[in-house]
């Protein structure tokens, strides 16, 4: 029968269909690679493990900042069942409406089944309460993560802060391993040493199921990489001095820079108005940040490296030194000052009228005689060595630049300004002639005119004088844990000794003697530090913005300088009244490790004195950031609990607003111009940053 051969046909059909299946399997599993990739993107979730950032230590190996484990409250909306909403909201201090709103937002943003952060960086109190009750809240869990913590609430400007990495940086540095949402150093040491502190991120491969939930490690974690912690940084900062400096600058606009002249290590660097570094951590970071950004007093602005001030009388020691080096004066040279300098027609005022107060260089520095140093400056420029005054000025400018004026100090935090020393061509533009008289720029001799310096430049200048001719670039970092070759080079550069060659050592002696005389019989003779002989120079810098800046430079001990301090207090008046005592306290704290009880009263007086110009102050409390200050005053803490409210840097004494409105008219205009130029200055600084 024909039918019997049909089994072969059936066999053929079966085998051919199997072959088709076989070929398709071959195609899928061997020829086609896209399914492997698809399976990985499907089911393997790359989880980034953040390394601990490196810690920054001060010179006594005390940590300036630490990593603190903080807790986030995580919620998986799909697991939330039978929630005691009342209890929950009570613990978190939120309303039920707020709870519902947040839950809806989370579900909208991050789906119903994925865990998301309900509240980040919990305060200790809330954390403790939650720990007790968390078993009642199905679907909620506590998760830990590391945040920065500043144990002494100080050093905001030098340490800098962290912020989310921005998209411009990401686009430019694709290979640095940052992703959206990562934190990166935004300013200060955190930014400068970002690569050292950052460490290496680890990657965990986790299995993810069809709803995006994580199921555990892929292949038991054999492809996982461990994070490498960031490396620690050892600085020369003395946290005790730093805290004192910030305390003294409270309620003032100004800054303090203290340097160890023997090494160039910065002991303290404070700028005021200040902020508590702990304020930029935690759930209200953004609020605090925005509030500071719009603050008229610019708490985020680091005046110690950015603020540019005319040095005033504090320039005089250097002026004298250059005179000596150029042989236009001798230490015994005197000027018969009778209270006015008349060398250029229009008489210039001098504070002292008694005859003989400028009989020699030492006396002239001690009494801060304007006439004397104006004449020294003119002599330097009119020197017969040079064919013209212009050439004389160029020579003077070169000398001054050797001392760091108008040059970057190369301090190892970003954003410094280099002050201002005009080049001769800039003056030519101003004067519209190359044929000058030294009278044209007369007041440069007493640190006015167009000369400006940052506080850190002032400190560097004093360092050179104290060291009698050499210096190290002012810097923070003394050592780095396991430095890479690149970092070793950086450290080597920081520790390179720079020598001023063309000024003989002997020339420094009368200058130092003169600065010593300042503290004995001169302008700061009433400031005594128990057991310490120090040298100093006060400055009262006139400026177009209002009251004089109070400036003070000093170093101590006289014979073997261990600390150099430069203090600037804006619009405060005489240098000896405000900046002087502040400088003395800093030296005392550093050298004696304590402040004598007899001086504590002065200390507190200065610390409590409010020297912020009225109009700025009024804006500070009345305008954009009023809520911010109200919160501080009401102790409505949005800082994390470890940061004591008392240590917040800007404290607001009670102010009678009515009184403020009736400011005298001329004062008002003064302050207005003050404000506008200051904001110009600040915007300049920001642009550079």
């Amino acid at each position: 029968m024909n039918n019997q051969r049909r089994d072969k046909v059936i066999q053929l059909i079966i085998i051919s269909l199997f072959s088709i299946t076989f070929l398709q399997l071959f195609n899928l599993q061997i020829l086609n690679k896209k399914y492997k990739v698809a399976a990985e993107t499907n089911s393997i979730f790359l989880k980034v493990i953040y390394p601990d950032r490196g810690i920054i230590y001060d010179k006594n190996k005390k940590s300036l900042l630490e990593n603190k484990v903080s807790c986030d409250l995580i919620v998986t909306p799909s697991d939330v069942k039978m929630l005691d909403t009342h209890l929950f909201c009570d613990i978190l201090h939120i309303s039920i409406q707020e709870f519902k709103k947040r839950m809806n937002d989370l579900i909208y943003k991050n789906t119903y089944v994925k865990p998301s952060v309900f509240e980040g960086v919990l305060s200790n109190e809330i954390h403790a309460q939650l720990l007790e009750n968390i078993y009642k809240f199905n679907g909620f869990s506590l998760s830990q993560r590391a945040v920065r913590f500043y144990p002494s609430n100080a050093g905001a400007h030098l340490l800098g802060y962290l912020g989310e990495v921005d998209s411009i940086y990401l686009r430019k540095n694709k290979n640095d391993g940052y992703e959206m949402g990562d934190y990166i150093g935004v300013s200060g040491l955190e930014k400068q040493y970002e690569k050292t502190l950052m460490g290496q991120k680890g990657i965990n491969r986790l299995l993810r199921d069809n709803k995006g939930r994580l199921q555990g490690k892929y292949e038991n974690g054999i492809y996982d990489t461990l994070p490498t912690s960031g490396r620690n940084i050892y600085t020369g900062v003395d946290i005790g001095v730093q805290v004192i400096a910030e305390k003294l600058l409270e309620n003032k606009i100004g800054s303090v820079v203290a340097i160890d002249p023997k090494t160039g290590l910065i002991i303290a660097l404070a700028s005021s108005p200040n902020f508590n570094p702990n304020a930029l951590i935690g759930p209200n970071r953004r609020k605090a940040f925005v509030s500071m950004l719009y603050d008229t007093s610019k708490p985020l602005y680091n005046r110690s490296i950015k603020g540019m001030y005319p040095p005033g009388s504090t320039f005089k020691p250097l002026g004298g030194l250059i005179g000596l080096a150029e042989h236009v004066i001798t230490p015994d040279w005197g000027y018969p000052c009778n209270g006015n300098y008349n060398g250029c027609g229009d008489p210039r005022n001098c504070e002292h009228k008694n005859v003989g107060h400028a009989n020699n260089l030492v006396q002239a520095i001690a009494n801060s005689c304007n006439s004397y140093f104006l004449q020294v400056f003119r002599n330097t420029l009119d020197n017969n060595k040079f064919s013209s005054v212009l050439k004389g000025y160029e020579n003077w400018a070169t000398k001054v630049r050797e001392f760091g004026l108008g040059e970057y100090t190369h301090v190892d935090i970003p954003g410094e300004n280099k002050g201002n020393i005009y080049t001769s061509s800039q003056y030519v533009q101003d004067f519209k002639t190359t044929d000058w008289s030294s009278c044209y720029l007369l007041t440069l001799g007493i640190g006015q005119d167009r000369m400006t310096m940052t506080p850190i430049q002032l400190a560097k200048m004093v360092t050179i004088i104290a060291n009698e001719g050499y210096y190290y670039d002012p810097h923070f970092v003394d050592d780095i844990q396991n430095p890479t070759p690149a970092e070793q080079q950086i450290l080597k550069n920081l520790k390179t000794k720079h020598i001023i060659h063309d000024i003989p050592k002997e020339d420094y002696y009368p200058i130092i003697e003169g600065m010593y005389e300042v503290t004995q019989t001169g302008t700061s003779s009433f400031i005594k530090i128990p057991g310490i002989q120090y040298c100093a120079k006060t400055g009262t810098a006139q400026n177009p913005h209002g009251k004089n800046h109070s400036i003070f430079i000093c170093f101590a001990p006289k014979d073997d300088p261990k600390i150099v301090v430069a203090v600037v207090v804006e619009n405060a008046g005489f240098g000896s009244t405000w900046a002087g005592p502040i400088g003395s306290f800093i030296m005392e704290k550093y050298l004696n490790d304590t402040i004598a009880t007899s001086r504590m009263a002065t200390f507190n007086d200065i610390s409590n004195k409010n020297l912020i110009p009225d109009l700025i102050y009024k804006k500070m409390i009345n305008k954009d950031n009023s809520q911010f200050y109200k919160d501080i005053q009401n102790k409505n803490t949005f800082y994390i609990s470890e940061a004591p409210i008392d240590s917040l840097k800007v404290q607001i004494p009670h102010i009678d607003i009515k009184k403020k409105v009736t400011i005298k008219k001329n004062e008002k205009t003064k302050n207005n111009s003050n404000k506008s130029t200051k904001s110009k200055l600040n915007s300049k600084g920001n642009a550079k940053k």
Binding site: M1, N2, N3, R6, D7, V9, I10, Q11, I14, I15, L17, F18, I20, T21, F22, Q24, L25, F26, L28, Q29, I30, N32, K34, Y35, K36, A38, A39, E40, N42, S43, I44, L207, R208, D209, N210, Q215, G216, Y218, E219
Partner: protein
């Protein structure tokens, strides 16, 4: 055990028995791979009866008992109950319309004590094969009625198939097409097969190719035949007319029948699946069947989601596979219904091309061996029955595996002996062991 009983177990086909045990074991492993997670141990889950793996284990033991009983039963008894059981099967299928449990969108299940969900359509396969075999064997010696055989045989096959369609179990209905193999063997004209294959190609072509292009190419093919057979057509003008009629008929199918099938006969999701297979979107608003329900279904996951995921799972296995319990797609539960319809993905992902090939060869050997047994039967009853179950195994295997690798639209049918599920396992065990019983009693003649 008596001597006769010993002889029974001695005569049983060892190859099939071995392959059967192999497949059962592979199936159990595959289910375990799907169920496995890191913190469960093999033995603690095996006896717990609270997961699919453990249940499958008990189903296997139960099916062994069934197999044992079938071997012991007198084969004549099975033959004589053929029609009766067919009747019971149909009754059960009709019963599901009344007391059916709704599982996965079809009412074709009857729940027995909450533990086992029985699908009468599965069992009906056994009864239908028996009935068909019985019918053919009773007709063999009745030479007068030879022409009528075909119609009645078709009716026997298509009653349960139509009932399945009514239960929205298209998959089961398609399986009944596998009786074509048995019918073909028993003398059904081969032209039916050719015509149906041509029809299938035409349907596929009208889906893939632009309608007008297809008409032009059909005319082209017709002209091609016309000119190559010009001499024959001159001799016999009928042939020319036949070509013309076929052409007109084809265009009619392409223009009217195909849209009718997709818009009126098939349900929206079925049309979508078939369209997605060829990479097109089906517009469900055209579908006139059960419009009110289907409008809700439009917003579901894209319908090729499960095929895409199963292809990723199989494809990512590579040559050697990811290894036992290391399958990421499986662990992530990306493939829907992986322990039942898509069980092949768990093998494909874990053991790769090598494992799949070995599996294919085992299955192919199994089916060819069954074919061999069926062909070697002396009695018509056993032979027809044998071919029926060859058809079942082959059809289910081909459809199931090919749908997981994207060669066939997704239809909810199981992979015999591998997929999780009591109903499927029992049915195929019964099917297989009845054939083995007939094979043991080869010398007897069944009527």
């Amino acid at each position: 055990m008596t001597l006769q009983e010993k002889k029974i177990f001695f005569d049983i086909d060892k190859t099939i028995l071995f392959l059967y045990l192999c497949l059962i074991f592979i199936g159990l492993t595959a289910v375990f791979i799907v169920e496995h997670n890191a913190n469960t141990s093999f033995f603690s889950t095996l006896f717990s009866f609270n997961n699919n793996f453990s249940k499958q284990f008990y189903f296997i033991i139960f099916s062994f008992i069934i197999a044992f009983i079938i071997i012991l039963v007198e084969s004549n008894l099975i033959v004589s109950f053929a029609y009766l059981s067919y009747g019971i099967g149909l009754f059960l299928m009709i019963l599901t319309f009344v007391i059916g449990e709704n599982i996965n969108g079809s009412n074709s299940w009857i729940s027995i004590g909450g533990v086992l969900n029985l699908q009468p359509a599965e069992l009906c396969k056994v009864f239908t094969s028996l009935a068909l075999a019985k019918y053919y064997s009773s007709m063999t010696h009745n030479a007068n009625k030879k022409e009528g055989i075909k119609m009645i045989a078709l009716i026997i096959v298509f009653i349960p198939a139509i009932l399945s369609i009514l239960q929205h179990e298209l998959g089961q209905a398609i399986i009944y097409l596998s009786f074509m193999i048995a019918l073909y063997r028993e003398g059904f004209p081969a032209s039916i097969l050719i015509v149906s294959i041509c029809f299938a190609i035409l349907v596929l072509a009208s889906l893939i190719i632009e309608p007008n292009t297809l008409v032009i190419s059909l005319i082209g093919i017709a002209l091609f035949f016309f000119f190559f057979n010009l001499k024959k057509i001159k001799k016999n003008k009928k042939l020319g007319w036949i070509i013309a009629i076929i052409l007109i008929f084809s265009v009619f199918i392409q223009r009217f029948t195909v849209p009718y099938i997709f818009n009126n006969l098939l349900e929206c999701y079925q049309s979508t699946r078939i369209y997605s297979l060829i990479g097109k979107d089906y517009d469900c608003t055209q579908n006139k069947k059960r419009i009110s329900k289907d409008l809700k279904l439009v917003s579901r996951k894209p319908d090729d989601y499960n095929v895409r995921q199963s292809m990723i799972a199989v494809g990512s296995g590579g040559f050697l596979g990811k290894g036992l319990f290391k399958s990421t797609q499986t662990k992530g539960k990306y493939v829907p219904a992986q322990h039942t319809d898509f069980i092949f993905t768990s093998i494909g992902e874990a053991f790769g091309f090598l494992g799949c090939s070995i599996f294919l060869i085992i299955y192919l050997t199994f089916i060819l061996r069954l074919l061999n047994i069926a062909e070697s039967q002396r009695s018509t009853f056993a032979r027809v029955y044998g071919y029926s179950i060859v058809g079942f195994f082959f059809m289910q295997f081909a459809i199931n595996v090919n749908m997981t690798i994207g060669l066939f639209p997704v239809i909810g049918i199981t992979l015999p002996f591998i997929s999780y599920g009591g109903s499927s396992l029992f049915t195929f065990t019964i099917l297989l062991f009845i054939l083995l019983k007939f094979d043991i009693d080869k010398q007897k003649v069944f009527r």
